[in-house]
């Protein structure tokens, strides 16, 4: 019984880690510019396809494709940000939502057109397959890897945000963009870099997630709700909030499906309603 519970908890943490990597960029950019970007999942998909295609068509090893997935998604992110998104920062939320959902549909249609509608297969390297037994409880090797990668990313992000000049600029811009600009911080540039970083992380998450979430053209629509939940529950603009929210969602989703499969897929929505009533601005929200 206890073994089962630890197993479920571990799977939940692994799932939550994945949600965190993909959603964190969305959370920070939403907090920074108050911009509603429903197309965030499309960047995750870009990273996923970069990884899958490099493996199947160019024969690159899985681990080597991960940095490429990050870069490709980051470049795609910054290109779109500079050409299109930037024009809509001052627009109403409705305009932003209409625009970004349009981007999602275009991404879905374009991906289907170019790569076909099927799931992209990914064969993980041998050492990431199967299970590792610790004290009688089996842990998926790939999920262990996932948790480790995300833990490293989280630490790196935390250090960047708290210890570097750039981090200070981001925090200042989130807290009060007007005052930050007045102090000579180029908020526009900070936002551009943050957007690229967030898109890159989403791309990395998309690549890491192929084995767990699958990868086909409707990916950005299928998981949009999960990414938005992380931001809504965690509160926009915080890394800590995103992390806690992603873990809660991951663990509750997995535990719900394991223990009460009849209603398993609804659990996270109950949870969302309850948490939103208790914390309207999110667990660590800076803005309501």
């Amino acid at each position: 019984m206890v073994g089962n519970f630890i197993g479920v908890l571990f799977d939940g943490v692994a799932y939550g880690s994945l949600l965190f990597v993909i959603s964190i960029g969305l959370s920070v950019t939403m907090g920074l510019m108050n911009f509603v970007n429903l197309a965030h999942g499309a960047f995750a998909m870009v990273g996923g396809y970069a990884c899958a295609l490099l493996m199947t068509r160019a024969g690159m090893p899985f681990l080597a494709t991960l940095p490429v997935a990050f870069v490709v998604a980051a470049v795609a992110g910054i290109a779109l940000e500079r050409t299109l998104y930037q024009r809509l920062y001052k627009a109403t939320h409705l305009d932003q939502v209409m625009f970004t959902i349009g981007v999602v549909f275009m991404a879905v249609a374009a991906t289907t057109w170019v790569f076909g509608p099927s799931q992209q297969p990914v064969r993980l390297p041998e050492f990431l397959r199967g299970q590792v037994k610790v004290a009688g409880v089996g842990f998926g090797a790939y999920r262990l890897f996932l948790v480790a990668v995300v833990a490293a990313i989280t630490v790196a992000l935390h250090l960047t945000m708290t210890r570097t000049r750039f981090g200070a600029q981001v925090r200042a811009a989130v807290d009060n963009p007007v005052a930050a600009a007045g102090l000579g911080i180029d908020v526009n540039r900070v936002f551009g870099v943050t957007f690229a970083l967030g898109s890159g992380l989403a791309g990395l998450g998309g690549a890491l997630g192929i084995d767990v979430l699958g990868l086909e053209p409707t990916f950005p629509l299928k998981y949009m709700v999960y990414f938005l939940l992380v931001v809504a529950i965690g509160g926009a603009g915080t890394i800590k909030g995103g992390l806690v929210a992603a873990m809660i969602l991951g663990i509750c989703d997995v535990a719900g499906k394991y223990y009460v499969p009849q209603i398993g897929s609804f659990i996270i929505y109950f949870l969302m309603v309850a948490l939103m009533i208790a914390f309207p601005a999110g667990l660590y929200g800076r803005r309501s």
Binding site: D11, P117, T218, S265
Partner: protein
């Protein structure tokens, strides 16, 4: 989203011009009204692979059998419903009212077929269900004829096989919609009748991101085997979890209907799928000259793609339409076409097939298969068969 196929239009036109010039008069037969077939399929969305397989098979049928039947030019109108029932129904109405189609066909999921049944009844247009596999579908309209299969039909044999092969305790996992419930009911009934025990049964949501927790629970319950039904397209995700969580090493076998080892995905599954036992009506590895020719032609026309069970439903659906039009001399009304289809028998790539005249449903051979590596690739290799299985048998 709207394609019309005239693969040999130019040639036919040239032929016509030539014939007219020579004053030879095959014109009367050629001048028949075009035969419009409205093919509604999920071409985008999570079930797009089904749409791709079926539309490719229908095109292949036209390519191999000519685009004219009983003097009528075949006009295949492919529409995408993205797997949404309301859309399927709306498209069917448009096809009937605006395009004046003579036959509706396709229907990638049970809810899509059920939503469209009233349209077929009202318009008196034959509705060929090529994919959707819940048993009750043909009862919803006298104009429905099914060319695919039913879940109760293909579930029984694997239940019997399990009971005879030292599998006593089975955990069942099915997708929570019509065909899944059919499969669950049929498996439970047959397996219990043969003395087996159902440890537990779980129903997974149709739009399901992660099978991990469900599969983990199966492992913790340690049954002799896991029986799986998932719609075409989801088998890969189940197989991944089955492998990653080491169910095979824990001595749990996977059995199921052939949906889980779908030929469309089997190559992507690779070696972990080896040893899975399923019962089903079609395998791309079926050993017959008809099937060899079919698999070759299908692969050639689609960049090496392997045809799956849904494709054969589409191919045979086209055969039904062609034969019914021929039988009625190219002049049949909707009702006459349906009557012509009743009781029809032919040899399909899957083997012998008959349309039951009262149920308007397919009677066919169901095979037991095991996934084996042949020539470096996994295939569903048939090892036993049951002839003339009725659509409602479970």
């Amino acid at each position: 989203m709207n394609e019309r196929i005239h693969p040999t239009r130019r040639r036919v036109l040239q032929g016509l011009a030539g014939a007219a010039a020579l004053n030879a008069l095959p014109l009367r037969a050629q001048a028949g009204e075009p035969l419009k077939i409205g093919l509604i399929l999920p071409m985008t969305g999570p079930f797009a692979s089904t749409g791709k397989q079926v539309s490719a098979a229908c095109r292949l049928y036209v390519q191999r059998n000519g685009d004219t039947v009983a003097g009528r030019k075949v006009d295949l109108i492919v529409k995408d419903d993205a797997g949404v029932p309301d859309t399927t129904k709306r498209i069917a109405q448009e096809l009937v009212v605006q395009d004046k189609v003579h036959v509706l066909a396709g229907f990638g999921l049970t809810p899509l077929a059920l939503a469209t049944a009233p349209v077929a009844t009202e318009a008196k247009v034959p509705m060929i269900v090529m994919v959707a596999a819940t048993a009750i579908i043909p009862t919803r309209s006298p104009f429905i004829v099914r060319s695919g299969f039913t879940l109760p039909q293909v579930t029984g044999p694997v239940a019997d096989w399990a009971a005879k092969n030292k599998i006593r305790r089975v955990y069942t996992m099915v997708t929570d919609y019509g065909p899944g419930l059919d499969a669950e009911k049929a498996f439970h009934a047959r397996f219990k009748a043969a003395g087996g025990e159902i440890v537990e049964s779980v129903r997974t949501p149709l739009a399901n991101p992660d099978f991990g927790p469900f599969v983990q629970k199966v492992k913790d319950k340690a049954p002799d085997a896991l029986f799986v039904f998932v719609p075409s397209g989801q088998g890969l995700a189940v197989m991944k979890q089955f492998e990653e969580r080491g169910l095979r090493q824990a001595g749990i076998r996977m059995i199921g209907t052939g949906d889980v080892t779908d030929d469309d995905l089997l190559e992507s599954m690779g070696p972990p799928a080896v040893g899975v036992i399923t019962s089903f009506h079609y395998s791309a590895a079926h050993d017959s000259p008809e099937n060899k020719a079919y698999v070759d032609a299908f692969g050639k026309a689609n960049g090496g793609l392997r045809p799956n069970f849904h494709s054969v439903g589409g191919y045979d659906g086209m055969h039904l339409i062609y034969e019914a039009v021929k039988k009625t001399g190219g002049k049949g009304s909707g009702e006459e076409l349906v009557n012509a289809m009743k009781g029809m028998s032919w040899t399909s790539p899957r083997g012998p097939v008959t349309i039951d005249p009262t149920a308007r449903d397919v009677v066919q051979t169901v095979y037991l298969r095991e996934v084996k590596m042949v020539g470096g690739k996994p295939w569903n290799v048939e090892f036993d068969k049951f002839d003339n299985v009725k659509p409602q048998e479970g």
